[in-house]
């Protein structure tokens, strides 16, 4: 199974602080795999190391030791332009605060990853329209981010994250800034993307409701993965209850 995994993390350590500073170990040896087409959640309280882990996966930060393989490529070894190209081609991001460029319209924001890859204009237009139809945001394309609601912004951000058909979609608390209706819609959308387009999704959250949409949840605490919870075909509500129970014991 291991060599087929889309994400393979082994013995990942991260220590902050220089030689003469106070050292702080954020990750203390993390191991896990994500299979193609899987929807995985990573849960943990503030300070548990989940954001650090996501930054490693997204090549935004370098580990102290250990390796992160995405699509059989050790991303910790990448440098300079290779990092940029890897981000542009292999992964899509959805952030808590949307991170849309407010100087560009929704359409231009979505087109950005393709423009960066040098895709032809007609192909870009086609892809943008296709993804907009899938996410039902055709009406929003000509608008600037400031004219959109939080939920709409996050849909546009999701469209930008998947328009270039990445191998992996990373979400960092994507529902964190949304009201409950928008949050539910977005999570359904992510599930849809995951199931219909076969994109692997890795979601970092501390919100049990968001987590209940995943197939599998890794609980992280003090820099190590403490427990794992699988959905095993349960309904979402049942899974939600399981998560709440697990959290109740895990965080004690």
């Amino acid at each position: 199974m291991n060599n087929q995994a889309i994400v393979s993390v082994s013995d990942l350590h991260k220590t902050y602080g220089g030689k003469n500073e106070k050292q702080y170990e954020a990750l203390k040896g993390i191991n896990f795999d994500v299979q193609p087409g899987e929807f995985v959640g990573i849960m943990g309280a503030s300070g548990s190391g989940k954001t650090t882990l996501l930054n490693m996966l997204a090549t935004l930060d370098r580990p102290t030791s250990g390796s992160v393989k995405i699509n059989d490529q050790d991303v910790t070894k990448l440098k300079g332009n290779k990092i940029a190209d890897f981000r542009a081609n292999e992964i899509g991001f959805i952030f808590q605060d949307f991170n849309l460029l407010e100087t560009l319209t929704a359409e231009e924001n979505i087109a950005l990853p393709l423009s960066l890859q040098g895709v032809r204009r007609s192909a870009i237009n086609q892809a943008v329209n296709a993804v907009a139809t899938t996410l039902s945001i055709e009406d929003l394309l000509k608008k600037y981010p400031t004219e959109l609601s939080g939920g709409q912004k996050q849909r546009v951000a999701a469209a930008r994250a998947i328009v270039h058909k990445p191998a992996l979609l990373l979400g960092d608390e994507p529902t964190g800034a949304l009201d409950s209706n928008s949050a539910r819609e977005l999570l359904e959308l992510l599930t849809d993307i995951n199931q219909k387009q076969g994109v692997s999704v890795l979601l970092v959250t501390h919100d049990p409701f968001s987590a209940s949409f995943c197939d599998r949840i890794l609980f992280i605490k003090d820099g190590v993965i403490g427990q794992e919870l699988k959905r095993n075909g349960d309904s979402r509500t049942e899974f939600y209850q399981n998560i709440l129970e697990k959290l109740g014991t895990f965080e004690q």
Binding site: A58, L60, D61, R62, G80, N81, I83, A84, D85, F86, R87, A88, N89, I91, F93, N99, L101, E102, T103, L104, E108, A111, L112, P113, S115, L116, G118, R121, I124, K143, Y144, T146, E147, R160
Partner: protein
């Protein structure tokens, strides 16, 4: 307590405060530089001998005050944005609005006082340094000029005091009107750009018409006299503003529709410029105007410089005649550049000076030939050889030739070599020096001239007519002041314009840093980010630069009555200016990248 909080805030945001203070210090220093000339009527009257001089400086002062006002307002909103969040926090913690308001006024005024004080010190130093450099370079002596001039100092202090009080009142107003919650959650919202084709087109046309009117009155300055300057100022400023607003928006809008926009970061760059242009319209208008003023001042300054050489050359066919050159003088002569030296033998017999005719056949004497062009203006003087016969026949009209004797009251005559050698008299000689550029050789020529005057003190001939260097000295004392004013103001305006534009661009880095960081997160190569920044700032520099050059090309019409050929060799000042401007461009992009690009990982 609040005061201590404010102090600790300055410590934390020292970089922002440095940017803010540098900008303000530069502005007050430059205002002082200008005021030093502008408020000094004695100086203007003695050195600028054209009739518009005093009002031109007066208008210049008003214009610079307006520019400074806008500049201070920008700086102030920069300061306010930096502090609003903290003010909100203070109020949330229970500070009264009045208390926070007085703190804000105090802060604004403190920044103003510090900036003005530092600016004045820098201004005096700059005035001293630049004028010293220019005096050295131009070789002129000016009267009534002093780097430290009390009237200018007081004018600057007064203006800045008024400006900062106004700024403080503005700040207070916006603080009182803004609810605490909004102060705390200040986000940078970007207004949507509505492109109304017709309206933009109309305002663009209006802009072109206004600028056209401005150019027309400058061209017809003889008709409009003094009114031309305020009319041109208003129409050109307003016109440039409208042109920036409409044409840039339309062009970018059109470009965004093309396939080119979809390539790499082009669309992002275009959008950045589009939002900038709207936000920057005022500053770009100012920049283009300052660019025009600076370039105009330098062009006119170098115009006067050329005028000196040109008029001097018109007075005589040679630069300097050296009688019986000593070894020291001969050594000096070798140091001249672009020279032609011809030597003639002389023998003095009684009241006569006798020359060897054959030497004049071999190396004919040169005289100035005046020609009128078809349109009636005087053409550049030409020197042409004159035959010995002609020289003999109207010898008394050839002042240049008479001057070769080095003494007055002698009658020149010619003999063939044989007869010349048989004349029983001491062998004398005169070296006739002609240099291409008198200004470049000024120092050596001055030494030669002084040595000659010492060697032949009683025979020093008064005034013009014995070598163009004499004329050069006379004319440069007349025009030197204007030349100095031109260069001095050019440098002052350039510094003002560059610091205006640089300050405005750098003050927007906070929002931009977020955007570039985001682009890097979604996988944009660093080289692409750099390219985008270079292009964006290039457009922001180039657009006002181009409009400024056009302004100058038309504005020089104004100098037609006082300058012989305002457009002669205009490419050189323009090229020099572009060079200086480019240095500012590179400095700005470098600083900008330093601030906005995400740090490289080790």
């Amino acid at each position: 307590m609040l005061f201590r909080l404010a102090l600790s805030n300055i410590k934390n945001r020292i970089r922002d405060y440095i940017v803010l203070l540098t900008g303000l210090v530069m502005s007050s220093a430059i205002f002082y530089m200008f005021a030093n000339l502008a408020t000094n009527e004695d100086f203007i009257k003695t050195n600028a001998s054209f009739k518009f001089a005093v009002p031109v400086f007066y208008f210049g002062e008003v214009l610079l005050a307006i520019i400074t006002f806008i500049y201070v307002m920008y700086a102030n909103s920069f300061l306010l944005n930096m502090r609003l969040h903290d003010y909100g926090l203070f109020m949330m913690l229970g500070a009264k609005k009045r208390r926070v308001g007085s703190l804000m006024v105090l802060e604004t005024l403190t920044v103003g006082v510090i900036a003005t004080a530092l600016g004045l010190v820098l201004g005096v130093a700059l005035t001293g340094g630049i004028s010293g450099l220019l005096f050295d370079h131009l070789g002129i002596v000016l009267h009534h000029f002093n780097p430290f001039y009390l009237k200018a100092l007081l004018t600057t202090v007064l203006l800045y005091l008024i400006l900062f009080v106004i700024a403080a009142i503005f700040n207070l107003q916006s603080l009182i009107r803004t609810p605490v919650l909004k102060l705390l959650n200040q986000t940078d919202s970007v207004d949507k750009i509505k492109v109304r084709g017709f309206g933009l087109f109309f305002s663009g046309i209006l802009g072109v018409v206004l600028v056209g009117i401005g150019y027309y009155v400058l061209h017809e300055i003889v008709v409009f006299q003094l009114m031309a300057i305020p009319i041109a100022l208003v129409t050109i400023v307003l016109g440039s503003y409208l042109i920036f607003r409409s044409s840039m928006t339309l062009i970018i809008h059109w470009l965004k529709g093309t396939g080119w926009a979809r390539h790499k970061l082009n669309n992002f760059t275009l959008s950045q410029i589009m939002f900038r242009i709207r936000d920057y319209t005022k500053i770009l208008t100012i920049t283009s105007l300052l660019f025009a003023l600076a370039l105009g001042a330098i062009t006119v300054g170098s115009g006067f410089n050329r005028q000196i050489d040109w008029m001097a050359k018109m007075s005589s066919s040679y630069t300097l005649a050296v009688n019986n050159p000593t070894t020291q003088e001969q050594k000096l002569m070798t140091q001249l550049t672009g020279t032609k030296i011809v030597s003639y033998d002389q023998k003095f017999v009684g009241k006569n000076v006798i020359y060897n005719e054959d030497q004049f056949v071999q190396n004919p004497f040169m005289v100035v030939k005046y020609e009128k062009a078809k349109d009636g203006t005087v053409k550049a003087p030409k020197t042409v050889p004159i035959s010995v016969q002609k020289l003999k026949s109207d010898v008394n009209d050839q002042l240049d030739f008479l001057g070769l004797a080095g003494r007055t009251g002698v009658e020149p005559s010619f003999q063939k070599t044989n007869q010349f050698n048989q004349i029983n008299a001491n062998n004398n000689s005169v070296s006739v020096i002609t240099v291409k550029n008198i200004g470049v050789n000024r120092d050596v020529l001055t030494k030669l001239n002084n040595l000659q005057n010492k060697a032949h003190p009683q025979e020093s001939i008064s005034g013009i007519g014995v070598g163009s260097f004499q004329a050069y000295l006379v004319i440069s004392s007349m025009y030197g002041g204007l030349e100095f004013i031109g260069y001095f103001l050019g440098i002052a305006f350039l510094a003002m314009l560059a610091s205006c534009l640089m300050f405005k661009i750098l003050s927007g880095t906070r929002q931009d840093a977020i955007r570039y960081n985001l682009l890097s997160k979604v996988g944009t190569r660093r080289s692409l980010l750099r390219q985008s920044i270079n292009r964006e700032i290039f457009v922001l520099f180039a657009v006002p630069g181009i409009l400024g050059i056009v302004d100058v090309l038309f504005g020089l019409q104004m100098f037609k009555p006082i300058l012989d050929k305002p457009y002669y060799n205009i490419q050189y000042p323009i090229l020099i200016f572009i060079g200086l401007y480019l240095i500012y461009y590179f400095l700005t992009t470098w600083l900008y990248k330093l601030i906005v690009l995400p740090k490289k990982k080790k």
